[in-house]
């Protein structure tokens, strides 16, 4: 029921507030004032048992059960104040160990079924699994970790977003036009003239050509590279523009030259 100084291994078991703890609970007994240390050092009964087995080559079979139970009960009592759950877990472990011990002590009936059911097997499996995870946790903690071991770079994006303009496609125009037509059909008084689009486009083009000029000679409005169809459409566009009073066509009485003049230039 005492703490024993380990002479063989002078390395500290754990550090408490920077002070090395050289003493280990060799017989599972933890004195009251070391309770906190005990709770800090071990994660639970599995951890403690694992420690005892690995550290002291303790055979599960050879754990002194009566003494152990008594000692466990003592600190279970102490833990009950604010570590009730943990106390229960240690208690459970004690019960388990006692159960194993007692089963091992019973005469072995030597049946096949019993052989497969070594009472220690389940505890050993749990201890090994826990030990494996405990080791894995250690390895995990050794991996480089963001913020602790390196920082992630994020440079500021300075500019505000460029404003995005709406996109449209032909369908949008088609639908818009269809909507206008539908309304026009309802209001019969709106008559929409039928004309080939190319004439309208050429009308705009002729106006552009005239922009800023006093007047242009009629023939100059026709591109020398124009196809017959283009010449016809251009001609129609000029006539349409004249009809809509958008330009004036005049002929010089002297030369017979025909001039085209944009109205707004006047």
């Amino acid at each position: 029921m005492n703490l024993v100084i380990e002479a063989v291994e002078p390395q500290p078991v754990a550090k408490i507030c920077g002070e090395p703890l050289l003493e280990i609970p060799q017989d599972l007994y933890i004195p009251p004032d070391a309770l906190e240390v005990f709770l800090d050092t071990f994660q639970g009964p599995l951890d403690l048992l694992l420690y005892l087995i690995r550290k002291h080559n303790l055979n599960i079979l050879d754990i002194p059960m009566a003494e152990l139970t008594q000692q466990y009960m003592t600190y279970v009592e102490m833990m009950r104040v604010d570590q009730l759950e943990l106390a229960a877990e240690y208690l459970l472990m004690t019960a388990l160990l006692i159960e194993i011990k007692s089963r091992m002590l019973l005469p072995n009936p030597k049946t096949a079924v019993e052989e497969e059911h070594d009472p220690r097997a389940e505890l050993v499996r749990r201890l090994l699994e826990y030990e494996q995870m405990k080791t894995a946790a250690l390895r995990l903690n050794q991996l480089p970790q963001a913020e602790r071991d390196f920082s992630i770079i994020q440079v500021r994006i300075e500019q505000k977003r460029t404003e995005q303009l709406p996109h449209i496609n032909m369908d949008d125009l088609r639908n818009a036009w269809a909507a206008i037509l539908t309304r026009a059909k309802v209001n019969r008084h709106h008559h929409i003239k039928r004309e080939t689009l190319s004439v309208r486009a050429y009308m705009s083009q002729v106006l552009r050509d005239l922009r800023g000029l006093e007047q242009v000679e009629f023939y100059d409005l026709f591109s020398p590279l124009a196809t017959v169809a283009e010449v016809v459409v251009t001609f129609l566009a000029i006539l349409e523009l004249a009809k809509e009073l958008l330009l004036e066509i005049s002929q010089s009485p002297d030369s017979g030259m025909i001039y085209v003049r944009s109205i707004n230039a006047a």
């Binding site: 694992l50 080791t135 125009l173 818009a176």
Partner: protein, 211 residues
């Protein structure tokens, strides 16, 4: 598995304080690239336990700035200190990673545009006549600003109203080679008159003689 073997943590490299200029620049650079806020020189000096003077740091910062000159990121000084930021030239590319929902034009704008496209050249009065409602200046301004329409002349009537037409830029933006590539009006009329929405009807529909 002893208890104490749980203690060691990932071993951090020791800070060794004999730094050559290259290493110093590296640390400065790393600090500026990871900082959330601009870092004043006083703060940057802490990186080196205040062992480097402000003047030395200023020189090093200039060197860092120089080194980054040919990249998409630049080191700048703002009121509260030094920081890295993107250059304007990479901005359009970076925006592709966070696409915005495309804004849409109102029906009024689309109809106005359709009328100008199909009936050009037209005055504002023409558009109002066809749409049956007034056309706000804002609508025309939007289309003018976008470079999709332009004034190509004036009609010789009182007030000399401007005549609007679509531009080459408009054709480019719609991937059209010429205005004739817009859906022809006749077809739409026939569709409308054949009962409206049935888009699968063949083209040989009753005449549009009514119009």
């Amino acid at each position: 598995m002893s208890v104490r073997s749980m203690q060691p943590e990932y071993s951090q490299p020791e800070v060794q304080d004999s730094l050559n200029p290259a290493k110093t620049r590296q640390i400065l650079e790393a600090a500026l690239l990871t900082a959330q806020e601009p870092l004043p020189v006083s703060e940057l000096r802490k990186l080196f336990n205040d062992e480097l003077s402000a003047a030395v740091l200023a020189n090093l910062l200039e060197e860092v700035r120089e080194q980054w000159r040919d990249s998409g990121i630049e080191l700048v000084t703002v009121a509260s200190g030094w920081r890295f930021q993107t250059k304007a030239e990479v901005q359009p590319y970076l925006e592709r990673l966070t696409p915005q929902k495309a804004p849409r034009y109102s029906r009024a704008i689309l109809e106005t545009l359709a009328i100008i496209a199909y009936r050009q050249p037209v005055t504002r009065g023409d558009i109002e006549e066809i749409r049956g409602v007034g056309v706000s200046s804002a609508i025309l301004k939007t289309l003018l600003a976008r470079g999709w329409i332009e004034a190509v002349g004036h009609r010789n009537v009182p007030g000399k109203p401007e005549l609007f037409a679509t531009t080459t830029h408009f054709l480019d933006d719609l991937n059209l080679r010429s205005i004739e590539e817009l859906p022809p009006l006749e077809e739409m009329k026939s569709l409308l008159e054949s009962g409206g929405e049935n888009e699968h009807l063949p083209l040989e529909q009753p005449e549009e003689s009514g119009h």
